[in-house]
């Protein structure tokens, strides 16, 4: 066989104990293992192994581990890679070492843009897809005047700027913005400013605990009851779970996956739930998808040699539990449909983890930058 060292080894490198541990965390590792089992544990006759490490959100640790994995532990591909600084650093190493990496946990569009790699892939979502999803679609739903509460650093700006583009592109208006420093705990002041702007939609250009706290405090000040809508630009199921429907109800958000979307996703989610006692979110499902697709590519190429597998990955459609119509662009971006959801009120929720109400679908080609726009130097122009 053409499998190097007689086995295929996949490394899941992500944050398992830090601020992004709920994003993917240990459960992404579990998803990867499920994918391997579902694939039959073997590809081209060679056993498949999943190893994992906690990069603690430190790029140097991640980069150290990535190099060690590639150089001494015969790891063939690294996946998940929560947080941008880590994803970019590891993608750089993978490119240098000619290895495949598939990012499911980071949001920056640079991964398939300026800093793209012929062997690097971006699954799940990016800041662009979040912006289009929430920004564009909400305007169509009547939310045509916006006020942003933006976290004051590059990530916040890019979410806000891209969203603004789509809000305005769809005929909406941005009335104002308040930029607050990272790590604030009290948002009432910013929310009051947003409230008095009279905007129909308050866009939360932030992530993680910042978003949770903003939403919780907005509920306290009666902002949603007052008729304004809250749009969380980067928010996932795990966080809605943490926040509780009482506080989160009415929030609008964009996700690439929801467990209760269709029969396939429900079946997967139930199996996942049995193993982990929680429903999979977008990142975990994407990790499952990425592993599966990678294995399929090896199977099809008949080898785990990087160039050949990358070629297959670039050409094969993605059709699995995560998405039904995924297509990988030459910049490495896996383009697929995204969905706009609204968080249910406690009354609307009928069962455990029943959190989302479907609002709209954002077709993949709108949600993601095309290879022309991406700015990736090695992409087909």
């Amino acid at each position: 066989a053409e499998i190097s060292d007689g086995k295929v080894k996949i490394g899941i490198l992500n944050d398992q104990s830090g601020v992004y541990a709920d994003f993917g965390g240990k459960w992404s590792v579990e998803a990867a293992k499920m994918a391997v089992e579902d694939f039959g544990g073997k590809v081209q006759g060679a056993p498949i192994e999943v190893i994992s490490a906690d990069h603690q959100n430190k790029a140097d640790i991640a980069s150290n581990i990535a190099r060690q994995w590639y150089d001494t532990e015969q790891v063939d591909a690294i996946m998940e890679l929560t947080t941008s600084s880590v994803a970019l650093a590891v993608q750089g190493i993978s490119k240098e070492k000619k290895k495949i990496d598939i990012v499911t946990g980071a949001a920056t569009t640079d991964l398939t843009g300026k800093q793209c790699s012929p062997y690097g892939f971006h699954w799940a979502y990016d800041t662009h897809s979040q912006a289009v999803g929430t920004g564009g679609s909400l305007v169509q739903q009547g939310g045509d005047s916006w006020f942003f509460v933006t976290v004051d650093y590059a990530f916040g700006y890019s979410l806000k700027d891209q969203t603004t583009k789509f809000v305005e592109g769809h005929g909406g208006k941005v009335l104002g913005e308040v930029r607050y420093p990272l790590g604030s705990t009290d948002y009432s002041s910013f929310l009051l400013q947003a409230q008095s702007s009279g905007a129909k939609v308050i866009g939360l250009a932030n992530a993680g605990l910042d978003t949770s706290n903003s939403i919780k405090q907005a509920a306290e000040f009666g902002i949603v009851q007052g008729g304004q809508r809250l749009a969380a630009l980067l928010f996932t199921l795990a966080e809605v779970h943490g926040l509780g429907l009482q506080a989160a109800q009415g929030v609008v958000l964009t996700e690439g996956f929801y467990w209760d979307r269709d029969d396939k996703s429900r079946e997967f989610a139930q199996r996942f739930f049995k193993r982990t006692n929680r429903m999979p979110n977008m990142i975990q499902a994407a990790t499952y998808s990425a592993v599966t697709q990678y294995l399929k590519a090896i199977d099809k190429a008949g080898t785990d040699e990087t160039e050949a597998v990358a070629k297959q990955l670039h050409s094969m459609p993605v059709n699995d539990v995560f998405t039904a119509n995924g297509k990988v662009q030459s910049d490495g971006n896996m383009v697929h449909d995204m969905y706009l959801y609204q968080v249910k009120s406690p009354a609307e929720s009928t069962k455990e983890w029943d959190y989302y109400k479907y609002l709209a679908t954002i077709p993949g080609n709108e949600a993601f930058l095309s290879e022309k726009e991406s700015g990736c130097p090695t992409a087909v122009q």
Binding site: Q16, H55, Q56, A89, D152
Partner: protein, 322 residues
């Protein structure tokens, strides 16, 4: 009477022992890259230098800075930016990083040395948190992405640092020079005044020494050397990220020093190696790193205050003393 182990003067008689250890250590480092993964070794050396620079301040002037990440991470940013964006050669980038760290040290020191002990610790902590926020927001640091893909470049126009072994020996050389510089500062006329200030500040003033200037001097030197370590790390890993300016990083360097032995030359090096090794090992073990780090802190403070090297000296030197 209070037992001030933290500010205890290192035992005089330990000098010979230290030299033997140093000799063995250098030898080991020369052959190490053939046995251990070089990038790991380089990381270890960077942190070891960082810890030594930190120890210059804590171990020899008794000032506990809780803001040293500012110099380490700050220099990493300056160096990375100079090399990547301005296209400077690595040696110039490193010098810029050190200069930047020195400047930051001057500013932070200016505020902090007005107070001592825990006050000093808290003020440095607060100021470094300010610098962290600055780094989060300043465009040149590229926020949470960090400055990525910094080219290693050609050292002095002839040594290609992209070759792993070249890089390693360069790092080793810088490390040794840095540690020597620290050793020299500690054992210099200037170092002698620092010790006397630590022992009795008012007396030193009455002898005509402008204590504040000496402390500031030591602070800036420590900052500069911490900056050297940070600059080096940026080149080794080819990026500079926010991690290195967080207050948790300041805590980590304290841990390294405490674990190895405050006020010893070799201690911080050993401490740094252990912490770096531990972080790596725990990364794949599934055991949360913060818990382990926290436990080591608690254990060190409670029963192991002299640190590994400190304990070792105490054991080895005891018979000699009697």
């Amino acid at each position: 009477m209070a037992e001030l182990t933290l500010r205890e003067t290192p035992a005089r008689t330990s000098a010979r022992l230290e030299w033997t250890l140093v000799g063995l250590g250098i030898l080991a480092l020369l052959v190490a890259p053939f046995l251990v993964y070089p990038i790991f070794l380089m990381k270890m050396l960077c942190f070891a230098l960082f810890a030594c620079a930190f120890n210059l301040l804590l171990g020899y002037t008794g000032l506990l800075s809780f803001g040293h990440a500012t110099f380490f991470g700050g220099a990493a940013y300056f160096t990375a930016h100079a090399i990547k964006v301005w296209g400077w050669p690595p040696e110039a980038g490193i010098l810029l990083g050190m200069a930047g760290a020195a400047l930051l040290g001057l500013v932070m020191g200016f505020f902090a040395i007005r107070r001592q002990g825990i006050y000093f610790a808290m003020i440095t902590l607060a100021l470094s948190q300010m610098f962290f926020f600055f780094c989060v927001q300043a465009p040149f640091t590229e926020g949470e992405d960090g400055i990525q893909g910094v080219p290693r470049g050609i050292l002095l126009g002839f040594l290609d640092l992209n070759v792993s072994m070249n890089m390693y020996y360069f790092v080793l050389a810088v490390f040794l020079i840095g540690v020597f510089a620290i050793w020299r500062i500690v054992n210099s006329p200037f170092g002698m005044i620092l010790r006397s200030i630590r022992e009795n500040e008012n007396r030193a003033i009455s002898l005509g020494y402008s204590v504040a200037n000496y402390k500031l001097g030591a602070f800036v030197m420590s900052a500069t050397l911490a900056g050297l370590a940070g600059a080096l790390k940026a080149i080794v890993f080819q990026f500079a990220t926010l991690t290195d300016v967080t207050w948790q990083m300041s805590g980590e360097v304290i841990l390294m020093t405490l674990l190895g032995g405050i006020g010893t030359m070799v201690g911080p090096i050993i401490g740094a190696s252990l912490v770096v090794g531990l972080e790596n090992t725990l990364a794949t073990s599934g055991f949360p790193v913060t818990i382990a780090t926290g436990l080591i802190f608690m254990v060190c403070v409670l029963i192991f205050r002299r640190g590994i090297v400190g304990e070792l000296y105490a054991r080895l030197l005891k018979p000699a003393k009697d």
